[in-house]
């Protein structure tokens, strides 16, 4: 190997990255955790919207069909939607970690 080649090899060594970098690896972990959180929140929000819309759309007829007296669905609709949201939140907060450990 010529002197120039040796110096070129040294240049590559100097401009590379370390074999391990815990700060970098932690940064990636945190970025993934943030992304995972956003995905979960988006999924939860979408679920709430879907359930809420479903409740508002068919809740009145379903309750009336079940023999439940519904005199004012405008009042009970938001309550049902809130119950659905709380239920979805409970499911979300009670989930187990996905990591297989």
């Amino acid at each position: 190997m010529s002197d120039a080649e040796t110096r070129l090899a040294e240049f590559w060594d100097q401009t590379g990255a370390p074999a391990r970098d815990l700060i970098f690896e932690l940064g990636v972990q945190q970025a993934i955790a943030r992304r995972r959180f956003l995905i979960d929140v988006a999924g939860l929000a979408a679920g709430v919207v879907v359930v809420g819309a479903f409740v508002l759309a068919v809740g009145h007829d379903a309750l009336a069909g079940a023999g439940v007296p519904v005199s004012n669905f405008d009042a009970i609709g938001p309550v049902l939607a809130a119950v659905a949201a709380i239920g979805a939140a409970m499911v979300w907060f009670s989930r187990t970690p996905q990591d297989e450990a």
Partner: protein, 173 residues
């Protein structure tokens, strides 16, 4: 004995964060080294590397296993690097952090000359040189990472190497 990439990818697809972390640990040096040698700024390179792994995490299902995992990662990194360069424009290129590397037998002047010479190489040639000479990628892996024909990679590496050696006063073949 370490698990093969394929096994870790399969586990990561099933939701194992630990498996993906092992992949990051295993390949961060190759991806960051590649980006540091192709980007004008080491901080930008590390940011891009982090984005690369984030994209890989969310796109693992798209990895078919045809290319090596590090080639696939570097392909993502390369696309991100090009996007960043285009968005910033060439005029904003700054001196890279090679100036900050510790003193060594390779003098600072020679190091700067090499860094400058590396920056003057065309994008694809610089990337091919960074992978095959700077990293230990085979020509085939570099071709997969950069999406270029094998012959083009060989040509890029040969010419790029000759230019860099010429800066050092060595034989430019």
């Amino acid at each position: 004995m370490s698990e093969p990439d394929a096994d870790l990818v399969a586990a990561a697809r099933r939701g194992s964060q630990r498996a993906f972390q092992q992949l990051v640990e295993r390949h961060q040096q190759a991806v960051r080294g590649f980006l540091r040698r192709t980007c004008a700024d080491a901080d930008d390179a590390d940011d891009l590397a982090q984005e690369t792994f984030l994209t890989a995490w969310s796109s693992l299902l798209l990895y078919r296993g045809g290319a090596s995992l590090r080639s696939w990662l570097c392909a993502i990194a390369w696309k991100k690097s090009l996007t960043l360069r285009r968005s910033r424009g060439r005029e904003r290129r700054r001196h890279d952090s090679l100036e900050e590397t510790p003193p060594s037998a390779l003098g600072a002047e020679a190091r700067m000359d090499l860094a400058a010479a590396l920056r003057t190489l065309p994008d694809e040639q610089r990337a091919a040189v960074a992978l095959c000479l700077g990293g230990d990628f085979s020509h085939t892996e570099a071709a997969e990472a950069l999406g270029l024909p094998l012959g083009t990679i060989k040509s890029h590496v040969q010419r790029g190497r000759a230019k860099l050696l010429a800066v050092l006063g060595g034989p430019d073949e």
